[in-house]
Amino acid sequence: MRWRWFHQWGSPRWFYERAGRWQLVFGWVSLGLIAVGTIWGLGFAPVDYQQGNSYRIIYLHVPVAFLAQAMYAAMAVSALVLLVWKMKIADIAMQSIAVIGFTFTALALGSGAVWGKPTWGTYWVWDARLTSMLILAFLYLALIGLRASIRDPDQAGKVCGILVLVGVVNLPIIKYSVEWWNTLHQPASLKLTEKPTMPASMWIPLLVNILGYYIVAAYLVLGSMRAILVERERRSSWVKELVDRV
């Protein structure tokens, strides 16, 4: 059965139990990776010839900015699954990712602004990269607001799912903004297809942190989904059994 695993994950009870196990692993692994990557980046990576120590902000800024976009993509996949298969768990994923994705986007914007001050000479400039990231933050915020304003969860999921899919067009705009237009923001230093434009002593800790933030994002989303699942399914027998067991 090709689709069996897919429908299994769609079962609330199955999801709650499996996600609980994965969450534990993700939590500890990400804690380890982020501790290593952050200490390495802050204390052991060499200083930059132009920017001095201020560049050390990349060890937080780059991972959270990556995740801000990756989480939107994950939310879009959830929206598609919700609209096509009507799977409840996908709606919960969308709801969780909206909040956590917004937090990561806000962190990316904030850390970027603090980095911009010593490097560019300004906290903010309306260039294509920064503006498209701000639009991403507003999209996340709109999703949170939309859900809060619609009482019926099925209806809310549908409307949010459509907005999520409409917002997908912003993702390539963010990614390619630094290439398509003149921007103050520099192009990417780490790309999958090209050699990094920094030495290994700088990019290895960055990669460790990127990996750590991916996993911490998974940890946070799973945790939030499990909490929402208990609330939404509070009338179902499996949640009652669960409480009895505790």
Binding site: A128, W181, Q186
Partner: protein, 151 residues
């Protein structure tokens, strides 16, 4: 996948790609306005509005930075290696400001002078420890690494 789900999938993917194309065309039409700055070549060709607040972007040309020792006044040329624009500015420059550095300058054109009200440094995607920069400079490979931009 049952036919109903398949149909829904195709409708959604169709709508999203249609929307993508529309937004793409709008962005293409607006691309001049989305650019943060004009290049010296665009200014030389008269593409930039005169006496209006605009931004100018390029490299600080080597050997053109002239600081007034009495005040914060500074004059320099911004180049894209085809054309130069002379900029005059009074105020605090960002730490990264130097010859050969990418900058984005806000201000307005007055004759052939660009009167700046704000100077921002644009840094590139290259990160390096200072020792490596020094070694590269000595072997003459620094320019090559920077993609020949700093010539």
């Amino acid at each position: 996948m049952n036919p109903k789900r398949k149909q829904r999938l195709f409708i959604i993917l169709g709508l999203v790609s249609g929307l993508g194309v529309t937004v793409g065309l709008v962005m293409y039409a607006l691309s001049q306005n989305i650019n943060l700055f004009f290049t010296p070549t665009q200014i030389a060709q008269g593409d930039a509005p005169v006496a209006q607040m605009i931004r100018l972007g390029g490299m600080v040309a080597d050997g053109t930075v002239d600081r007034d020792p009495q005040s914060l006044r500074v004059a320099f040329d911004v180049t894209d290696f085809d054309h130069n624009v002379s900029v005059s500015y009074e105020g605090i420059l960002p730490d990264l400001f130097r010859e050969g550095q990418g900058v984005v300058v806000q201000g307005r054109l007055s004759g052939d002078q660009f009167l700046a009200s704000e100077v921002l440094a644009k840094h590139d995607q290259n990160y390096m420890p200072p020792e490596v920069t020094e070694a590269l400079r000595q072997s003459g490979k620094l320019d090559q690494m920077m993609g020949g931009k700093n010539k």
